[in-house]
């Protein structure tokens, strides 16, 4: 039987609790990984590895957490993404919710795109095949 989204959330929550040393109730869908949950770069790798094991999926490097997201300086202007930059980012991260970010596409706020729900969306997508 395929997993429901809430089952996926519970398993993702467990992976984050283990990787980041958190309490269960700290992991909410809207919690940001770096801002709210204190994840650092080394933790991202730990999280990917635990998700692969928990869901028996392969997560290619850069697919869940795109690195070097914007290599082209033409996609930025005054510290904010241009329309083209935003479009490219959305293409790289179909699993993220851009609702808030679109209002103010400030580069310094890009980390807020990585929420717990972002991971859940990604895994649900992967499991659906």
């Amino acid at each position: 039987m395929p997993m429901t989204e809430s089952e996926v959330f519970e398993t993702v929550k467990e992976a984050l609790v283990d990787a980041l040393g958190l309490d269960d109730d700290e992991v909410t869908p809207e919690a940001t990984l770096t801002g709210d949950l204190g994840a650092e770069s080394i933790d991202f790798l730990d999280i990917v590895f635990r998700l692969e094991k928990a869901f028996n999926i392969k997560i290619p490097r850069g697919e869940l957490f795109p690195d070097n997201i914007l290599n082209d300086p033409g996609l930025l202007q005054d510290g904010k993404l241009t329309d083209a930059g935003l479009a490219q980012l959305k293409e790289r991260m179909p699993h993220a919710d851009f609702g808030d970010f679109e209002q103010d596409p400030d580069v310094s706020k890009m980390a807020d795109l990585f929420k717990v729900q972002t991971i859940v969306n990604y895994v649900v997508g992967k499991l659906a095949g």
């Binding site: 770069s41 080394i42 933790d43 790798l45 730990d46 590895f49 690195d67």
Partner: protein, 158 residues
């Protein structure tokens, strides 16, 4: 003073597993203050012993070409103390190795009996995820640590 917290390798399976021993002696200076009236091996130095065991295992898996540094202590739990005269054993197994990092699981024993678990993550410094530059020379593997594992590695064909 050399910062080496393992005495000898007793098992080394390249890319898989490494086991070291460390003898705790009252002659060691760090015990004189920890604690003066009740010397016990500090847990921090046992974590370091595991980090050296696991770090060499990870480094050798890439022929010591990468600078391997301890990046995260995922878990470190001890349920007993270690006293002068005890022999510590560090058993490290590689959980995964990726181009930029590695993770190990480990068991700590006192005179053969399991007293702790230490799981670590290492970063390959030059391939680090922060995109930082580091000096070219390998300041991690300077010779002394690799020499300890040399007897376990097959001699390359001449």
């Amino acid at each position: 003073m050399r910062w080496i917290w393992i005495d000898r390798f007793v098992e080394f399976v390249p890319g898989r597993r490494a086991v070291t021993i460390k003898n705790v002696s009252l002659a060691e200076e760090h015990l004189h203050d920890h604690w003066r009236d009740f010397p016990i091996q500090p847990a921090s130095l046992m974590i370091e012993g595991m980090a050296q065991t696991a770090g060499i295992l990870v480094g050798q898996a890439r022929d010591f070409k990468e600078k391997v540094i301890l990046a995260k202590i995922s878990k470190a739990e001890f349920n007993d103390i270690v006293l002068p005269g005890d022999q510590i054993t560090y058993e490290a197994d590689i959980e995964f190795i990726a181009p930029e990092a590695a993770a190990t699981r480990g068991v700590v024993r006192k005179n053969g009996e399991v007293i702790g678990e230490v799981n670590l993550m290492f970063s390959h410094v030059d391939r680090n995820m922060a995109g930082l530059d580091f000096p070219k020379e390998n300041f991690v593997f300077t010779g002394s640590l690799e020499r300890m594992v040399a007897p376990f590695l097959e001699k390359p064909d001449a």
